[in-house]
Amino acid sequence: MRGRRVLVIEDEYLVALEIESVLQAAGIDEVVLAATELEALDEMREGQWDFVVADANLNGVGINCIAAALSERSIPFVIVSGYRREHLPGEVADVPLVAKPFRGAELVQALEQLLPDGESG
């Protein structure tokens, strides 16, 4: 996981902080936090991201736009949400979901799954 850049899109600062901690602990060099959809879209436009960890709901705004943008850029991502799968929009049906509250290892594992075969932490 070293050298990877991860964008964490999470409106709740405390949760974002927790994700950051987990990712840093997993050895990810650069973790950037985005609290709103606007911030997130800006970050995506400006930076290069290996992964994205996204909340499904950003202060009442859905994930649809972000997901579309991610797909467009072919950035693999994981959804961290309190929502169950059935409450998520159909567009993200194939995206791995890590349910809140999460355990660190669970999130890391989900990310590792996104790596191309053979690559690992």
Partner: protein, 1182 residues
Amino acid sequence: MSAESQEEKVSHPREQPTVVGIGTSAGGLAALKTFFHNVPADSGLAFVVVVHLSPDHKSHLADLLQPHVAIPVQQITESTPLKPNHVYIIPPNANLNAIDTHLRLSKLEEKRRERAPIDHFFRTLASTFDGSSIGVILTGTGSDGTLGIEDIKAKGGLVLVQDPNEAEYDGMPQSAIASGLVDRVLTIQEIVETILRYDHTEPRVLTPADGDEAGQAERQLLQKIFALLRARTDRDFSRYKSSTILRRIARRMQLSYIEDIEQYVGKLREQPEEAHALADDFLITVTSFFRDPDVFEKLREEVIPRLFEKRGEGDVVRAWSVGCASGEEAYSIAILMLEEAARHESSPTLQIFASDLHRQSLEKARDGFYAGDIEADVTAERLQRFFQKENGGYRVRKEIRDLVVFAPHNLLADPPFSRLDLVTCRNLLIYLQRDVQREVIELFHYALLPEGELVLGSAETVDASDLFRTEDKQLCFYQKRNVPGPEPRLPVFPLTRHRATPKPFNGAGDHTGERIAYGLIHRRLTERFAPPSVLVGPDNRILHLSENAGRYLVHPGGEVTASVFKLVREELRIELQSALQSVRDKRVFFDSKPIPVRFNGHARPVVMHVRPSLDLEQEGFALVIFEERDPDVPESTSEPGTGNPVDESIRIQQLESDLRVAGESLRTVVEEYETTQEEMKASNEEMQSTNEELRSTMEELETSKEELQSINEELQTVNQENRHKVEELAQLSSDLQNLLTATGIATLFLDRSLRILRFTPKLGELFNIRVTDRGRPISDLTHRLGYDELCDDAGSVLAHLATIEREVEDERGCWFLTRVLPYRSMEDRIEGVVITFTDITKSKHAEAALNESQERLVSALEAGRMATLDSDPETQVTTFSRGAVDLLGADLNAGYRGIEGVTDLIHPDDREAHRVALQRSIDTGEDFETEFRVIRPRDGQTIWIAERGRATKDPRTGALGIKGLIWDITERRHSENRLLMLIGELNHRVKNTLATVQSIATQTLRHTPVPAEFVTRFQGRLHALANAHDLITESKWEGAEIGDIVRQQLSLGNSSERISTGGPAARLDAQTSLSLALVLHELGTNARKYGSLSVPDGRLDVSWTAEPEQNGIHLRIDWVERGGPPPKAGAKAGFGTNMIQRSLTGVGGKVELQFEPAGLSCHIVLPLLQAQIANGLEKTAS
């Protein structure tokens, strides 16, 4: 009893004593005592007594009677010789077989008790006893004996009955008298006297054995008696057998105590009643129901079924009971025929004619009432079916009486009934002479249809085997051979009343007239006189000539004549005239003087002897004998005696002169006479032609009579049918009447001009109508109906023949269904109008109530946004209640067919689910419940409908049907969806909160090295979060008031005097509220620990304002600390500070911290939606 008669009795000892049979019942002992008290010891009679007594009791009657009776009284229990001057008492249960020289009884045994022991006794007496018998009926109840006396009477016995006035009980006497067969009704005293006198009267009448001709004297007397009876009663018995007739006459004589027949003829002449009584006696026949059971058994088994073969409805079976007497035989045949008819589905019409001469008998027969116990002859079953029990007897039911036509009919004179299938003529032929019998048989042959059946009595046979085939010799059944009968059929017999006047002579071939041939008479007379002779009839016509009589007759010119006066030689004419005259008048013989007659120019003396017939029957006939004498022999009788010749010559001259004078006068007289004769002849010819005319008229009448008779018969049949129809109509009419009354439908019949024809009583309740209103126009009537169009409707129905129905209300509020129909006659013509008024008030009310309740139901359904649907599997009709219009968009008038009417309205995606639900309901038989969507046509909105109901399947066609209720569940569906969303949201928030808590725990732990402090820190932060949750939960997670959040997090109350808060009311959303609460908690914690609140004089001021910015309203919160130690700026930013600065970025907030020496101040800007600002800017200050 006179000594003379005693002598007579002694001098004429009889083989048999006369038997006196006495029948009595209640009151009998006293009557018998009286009776025998009057009987002398030497009456010469044998008395046999039968009394109704209980058969089980030993009778002491003999012992009781004996002291009162001069002759021995004997109770008999076994065969006993019959002796005169004895009284025999027969116990009721004794088995009396016969009475001849003995009373023959078989041994007493437990035999069924004879219903009518007296009848049985009398019948036995009549049928088996040879001698003279007398039947006596004394006091008693019931009718026993009545049938028995008939038999005694028929055998020529005497029947006496106690006067009902005297009798203690008059039942038996009355019943016997009613039969009309009783000879005398007398007191007991008189009965005994009558019996004795009767018995001692011995008419001197030589009764020949049957078949033998009566003697000459008897025949003459009989002729007289017949002539008398003909005159008195119009009946002719001259062809009856003389033996029978004489026996009856002897009986009548005996009853009148007359022994000389001449004397009796005198009585007959003087007393017309006696003539009637005698005639009635001649006609007595014995009859009873099913007399000779064998004969009737054969009729029932063979003959009658044969008659019914090949006869169906519309055919007729005709029978004729000849000599029916009181009708028992005719009724018996009717019963058999009815029984046979009952065995056939369609039976022919039955006609039974019964005829007799005896008018009283016919009356009795027509009446059909039979006193006396006929139970012995008729089975109980037949009694039950064909008779009606009436006072003391049985009456033939009307059904049978109607079948039998009783008619007075003289077999020997009247034309017969014709086209008959069956003729019964039993025991009548025996009374007729043999040649008459033959004629009667020919008559029956004529009357019967081919193969018709003739039944005769047991002693009678058909001689004419060419006409009838013997079917049963024993029972005397004969069947008609279909051969032509002997010629002229009708009238077979001359009218008997004209028989006294001999018919004009019309040639030798006339056999229909006189039965006694002239030849016979002639021969008899010429036995004594050999010379040529001529038989002259009462009208002076020559009837018969002997061989040489022509010598004395000359046929004159002119018309051919048979008159003896015209034919006889002129010389003899005058002499013959006076001779015939005197012979007939004086009934003397006449011999003329020799009269010279010129034969071929030679005069020869001819003496005429004229002899009258002395036979009464041949009165007026005379024989004229011509005796030709030798002309040379001088008449010895005219030879004058010797005397003086001179005297003689003078005398001769004188005599010649006298003679001349006499001759002259005679010629004059003769001439006058001849003139008169001519005149007579002329008038005679006139008479004759008149007579001819009369005769032809008669013949015509005879023909007409026949025609009338057949027309009459036809009419009778038609009448019968009509009567039947009338009965049927009456029945039908009564049925209709009852129907009309029963239905209670007021009905009014109007004719073509709308006048009232008929109406039912019920109509009176609606119309002011009375029976007298018939014929009035309907428009005249007032009625209580609100139906002014009645007349117009009736007219319209008459014009267009279309039924009109209306529902009208009357004044009382009753409703009537009024139907106006055309009245169609049987010929399908319109004869008027029928108006019916049916009371439908109840159904009308029920209908209204039903409508109301229906309306209530529908309204309730509509109010509940519900509707019913009903798809009938059988009729395939689908109906909805009104609510379905709104719920399903159904069109109530569309006429949906079948279950598709329902399913087509369902959203296409839900139809399959609906179908499955229905199928399950059919499979399990349980109700189904399903929900489906419907796109409402009204607004295109998709709404949800629930349906509960039951599906059915037509077993025949397999078509489906539904009965169900539907209602709108769109609202429920929406709230359910919202709830689901809510639960998802809740889950999400809980999870988010848990994630937050997780983060607080790990971050706090990371930044707090000392465990004790970690607990304090973590608990503080968790409390802040929990308290913020309390606030937003109060508002159902819609957010919290800014003031509440501030006050809560600063825990005002402890050091409130040092903290001021204020700002307008503004509501923050839940997420923002939680984040802000945590930020304020960190700020407050820092203020208490390091800031202005850590010193006693430090102050904190929290205020907020709403400021409109370009992208919406922003809430600005200012946190200002003053009076505390200066903040340590530049110090490493800890977890708390990071939280303060970063927590609100997720909700678009901005935080600015300023570490000024006067104290820390923090400025927070939060975007705010317009609606989240409360009205006005409320300041809350502590």
